[in-house]
Amino acid sequence: MTYKTDLPVMMPVTQRKAEPFLRLKLWHGVPIALLFIIATSLAFAAEGDEKQSPLAVLMNWAPLLLQGFIFNLVISVSAMSLGTAVGALLGLGQISPNRAMSGSSWIITQFFRNAPWLVLLFFAMFLLPFEVSIFGLAIPFPDWFKAILGLSLPVMANVSEIVRGAVKSLPSGQWEAAESLAYTRRQTLWLIILPQCVKRMLPPWMNLYSILTMATVLASIVGVSEVMTLTGRALSAEGGRPELLAPFYGFVLLLFFAYCYPIARFTVRLEKKFAVIN
């Protein structure tokens, strides 16, 4: 039944598909970033005379910068592993029926979740000793190790919330059914609840990893030799030529983009897949 009318409220509802303005695919990132680098470097190169072109300089430094980037990845994977392990325990603590346990887990989680990452990093850097001696054996705490510890704190708190959120998101009927079949609380958690939570936790967990990876450059501020630190050193070694800034930092951006974008795409895919199953 349709009315002939020009009143907007009387018009039939038409669902407009939300088409993204640009349908970017993963591989689009490469030409975009290259174009950016080349364009900026050419713009500056036009005024250079006998000096090496910015692109050539970048190529000289690229292997070192890549090494630095791999160091960033090592930091991100380590902080993620550590943060996930401790955070999962903290999350289980939050859902514990023991009040003292759940309360203290909640406080720790909230404290570290609502703290700036950089401040936590500074704390880890300057409060941890440069070495600890256990039974007379001096174990050094290098800067990169402290950076891992510092970054794993916010990861821990966020993982804790992811675990708690996933467990709470399951219908209470799952707990009741398990209870009425005489499963112990521990069995219920490990056999019934957590297996169903894994797929709910995976997308937010991967998002968190992306954010962490991008946050590893914070370690440059406290002097860890990761990609940002190395880029700064390379630039000053080249005499601080201003036309090098864009290609060098563009290159760093490209590295992060090439690593994080596929993770983001994959996360979206997983979210869609799980949304269909549920």
Binding site: P171, S180, A182, T184, I192, P195
Partner: protein, 248 residues
């Protein structure tokens, strides 16, 4: 004082229960003998579901006594696991474990809780799934089954624990009308096998057919009870009559 099969299997005496300020059960008493099928009916919010959830200690009670085979449920030192091995339960929303197949849903508790041998548990589970007429669906996940099929898996899952009594909490309320019959038939089969059943239901025709005894609850008390013929044809309390006239 030890329990013998001649005593009531479930004996509920003067049970009071409230959620905060809301009084849900206000002195309910009833006995269920071995092999009995009793149906609890009544308007929504009259405390029917709460009452049977107290029997397997999913809800606790504030006052009164519930004895299951002589064991007091209203006891802070109650071994809930031992109680729940004896008392099975089937829910309105089936509550199957969605990450496990029908067969795994049925055989998991016997293996994990009763520590049964895996092969024996599987053989029993296959038999039970056949009993609820689900041959061929053993490896289906709950999401692939209809509501009626899921509910029958849930019944088989409960039976696999070999309980002495099963609680049915409005088990057909969430089902499509065309699948209600297959679930009721399954329950009827159980009743004929001599299983002790406590049902909360809105299916009056079914209650009349299978129940040994009907209890009508309203506002947390049992208003009237009796054998189905007497109850449905000669209800005396005006509240019961009004409820029946609305339903029938």
């Amino acid at each position: 004082m030890s329990w013998t099969p001649a005593d009531p299997m479930v004996s509920i005496k003067d049970v009071h229960k409230s959620f905060g300020d809301l009084k849900v059960l206000n002195g309910v008493s009833l006995d269920v003998m071995k092999g009995d099928v009793i149906c609890i009916i009544g308007p929504s919010g009259s405390g029917k579901s709460t009452l049977i959830r107290c029997v397997n200690a999913l809800n606790d009670i504030q006052q009164g006594s519930i004895l299951v085979e002589g064991q007091e449920v209203n006891d802070p030192n109650l071994n809930k696991l031992e109680l729940r091995k004896k008392v099975g339960m089937v829910f309105q929303q089936y509550n199957l474990f969605p990450h496990k197949t029908a067969l795994q849903n049925v055989m998991m508790a016997p293996v994990r809780v009763l520590k049964q041998d895996k092969a024996a548990a599987e053989a029993q589970a296959l038999k039970l799934l056949a009993k609820v007429r689900l041959q061929g669906k053993e490896n289906a996940f709950p999401g692939e089954l209809s509501g009626g099929q899921q509910q029958r898996v849930a019944i088989a899952r409960s039976l696999a624990m070999q309980p002495d009594v099963i609680l049915f909490d409005e088990v057909t309320a969430a089902l499509d009308p065309e699948t209600v019959g297959e679930v009721l038939q399954t329950i009827k089969d159980l009743a004929e096998d001599g299983m002790t059943c406590i049902l909360v239901t809105h299916e009056m025709g079914f209650a009349r057919e299978v129940a040994d005894h009907i209890y009508f609850t309203d506002r947390g008390v049992i208003v009237e009870h009796g054998p189905p013929d007497v109850f449905f044809d000669n209800a005396t309390d005006p509240r019961t009559r009004e409820f029946l006239s609305q339903i029938l």
